[in-house]
Amino acid sequence: MKKSSYLKDVVSRFRTHKLAMIGMWVLIVELLLLIFLPEIMKLQPYEIYSGFGAVPGGEHILGTDNTGRDLFARLIYGGRTSMYVGFFSVLISFAVGVPLGMLAGYYRGPVEAVIMRAADVFLSFPSMVFILVLVSVIGPSITSATVVIGIMGWPGFARQLYGSVLSVREKDYIEGARAIGTKNFAIMFRYILPNAFAPILIAFTFGIASAILQESGLSFLGMGVQVPEASWGNMLYAAQSVSIIATRPWMWVPPGVCLLVTVLSINLFGDGLRDALDPKMKI
């Protein structure tokens, strides 16, 4: 009973957030396009056509790149890459950060000190630098970008969880559960995790946006997704010379705008989600 009315409240609060609704619809449409367009239009992102550097129009909606690949096909596949890297890297951050944060909050003492100090070290250092060093060691690819960005994202989740655990661990019902002999892990999963659900969902959403930005940055430096794989970042990487910027804006404006719109929509969605889930939370 109570649960369903909470959900109803959340949904109705979210609906009043106009920008968040716009963000959500943009994302839904975008995801549908990314999933179905390649099938419908028979897009060939890796095929090298004869006329390289073709202008937009005719057979190739956005023309072809310097080697003759269809730019529109690459734009769509680049979107798939962004979504893939964004989602799975945050999943990795989640999988690493949540248990660590929970351990730190629950056991305190030296475990807490080591984990939270490590989180500080990661947070007080430019993650871009770590990511670059790591990629240079394991070699650039979609997988390595996903893994590296994911690993670098753990402190955010760990801190979130740590905070949640601290705030509930002294509550009476935890004491009660402990008193009747409930195992530590059972306590964590049954009582603590549900309490942290809202902030984690919010962190997850914003995490995807920032992971997409990081992937594109990494690819823009030539250290992320490698050609022939497509990514919005490496499309911009290929178009960064002044002559291309000046004469062939169709090579760099579409991927840039797609990145902007995607990240903006996710952030707006996340903003609405935060307001809807917890009206008391700020910024």
Partner: protein, 318 residues
């Protein structure tokens, strides 16, 4: 106050060591041994040559001893020899510090100069057109990858209007002057700053609004102070405190942004050196830059902490 500073310094030192350990571990995972890298291209190597060089470089010792030797060298200013240029890393990096600092500090100061007044204005008239515009700007700023912003700026100001240069710090082949440097700085600084203007404005707005609802503001008004002096002498300093925390938190990302921005504008800073070194797998240089950046970020954090202590007299008590 003394105790507070000491505590912050201690944390900074621990963090610094944490980063060096991490960097060392990462670099030692890299494929290929340093000896191979150095001797690459040399013919007629005997096993003895390799072993001698390994011993000379301390590579026959356990890893933690190697780390300590490296750390000792780093702390005494010896960052090793670059595989790529065969020059001392310290020397190479030293040339790059100035340009990077110039870029980041200018961007940070400029962002604050714009964001602080804008935030106060938004807080003063919340839900006005101004306020709305600044929040749209903040959202778009935070969502725009800075390399894309850089390309747009280049397109507008360098290509269409032809008023600003697209790369480097100076024009080639002529005597360098300060106005020339400033002209070259405009686009990279604006690129780097864009993201932070919006974020800082929103933070300034929300902390200002919160402060304006505080009890001591009501006291100040009850004393008969004009609204302007209430804001300037009572609210402003209190509202800066959370903003300073935010600045501290965003320092690492600022450096990350600088790497990409330097790359777009071929700015001869640590970022471009970093990217070159990674392309060449020049590990001594990579490690040197990383350690140096860590040092700078921590110094920045200490500066933020000090400023924080100056702003808030209660801090030393906490």
């Amino acid at each position: 106050m003394g105790k507070y500073i000491f505590k912050r310094l201690l944390i900074a030192v621990i963090t610094f060591f944490g980063i060096t350990v991490l960097v060392y571990v990462l670099a030692s995972m890299a494929p290929g041994s340093p000896v191979e890298m150095i001797l690459a291209g040399t013919n007629n190597l005997t096993e003895g040559d390799v072993a001698r060089l390994e011993a000379q470089m301390g590579l026959d010792k356990p890893v933690y001893i190697q780390y300590l030797i490296w750390l000792k060298n780093v702390l005494s200013g010896n960052l090793g020899i670059s595989y790529r240029t065969m020059r001392p890393v310290a020397e190479m990096v030293a040339e790059r510090i100035g340009p990077t600092l110039m870029l980041t500090v200018a961007a940070l100061i400029l962002a604050l100069c714009i964001a602080v007044p804008l935030g106060i204005l938004s807080a003063h008239k919340p839900y006005s057109a101004w306020d709305y515009a600044s929040s749209v700007f903040a959202f778009i700023g935070a969502a725009t990858p800075n390399f894309f912003a850089a390309m747009i700026l280049i397109f507008i100001f360098s290509i269409r209007l032809g008023v600003l240069p697209t790369s480097g710090m100076y024009d080639a082949g002529v005597k360098t002057t300060l106005p020339m440097l400033l002209r070259h700085m405009v686009l990279p600084v604006v690129t780097l700053m864009l993201q932070y203007v919006g974020i800082y404005t929103r933070h300034m707005r929300s902390s200002m609004m919160e402060v304006l609802g505080d009890d001591y503001i009501r006291t100040a008004r009850a004393k008969g102070l004009r609204e302007k002096s209430v804001v300037v002498s009572h609210a402003f300093r209190n509202a800066l405190i959370p903003l300073v925390t935010q600045i501290g938190l965003s320092l690492p990302a600022l450096i990350g942004g600088a790497i990409i921005t330097e790359q777009v504008f071929s700015w001869p800073g640590m970022g471009t050196l970093m990217v070159q070194s990674i392309n060449y797998r020049d590990y001594p240089t990579i490690m040197g830059i990383t350690v140096l950046i860590a040092g700078f970020v921590l110094l920045g954090n200490i500066a933020v902490d000090l400023f924080y202590g100056v702003l808030d007299p209660r801090v030393s008590k906490r």
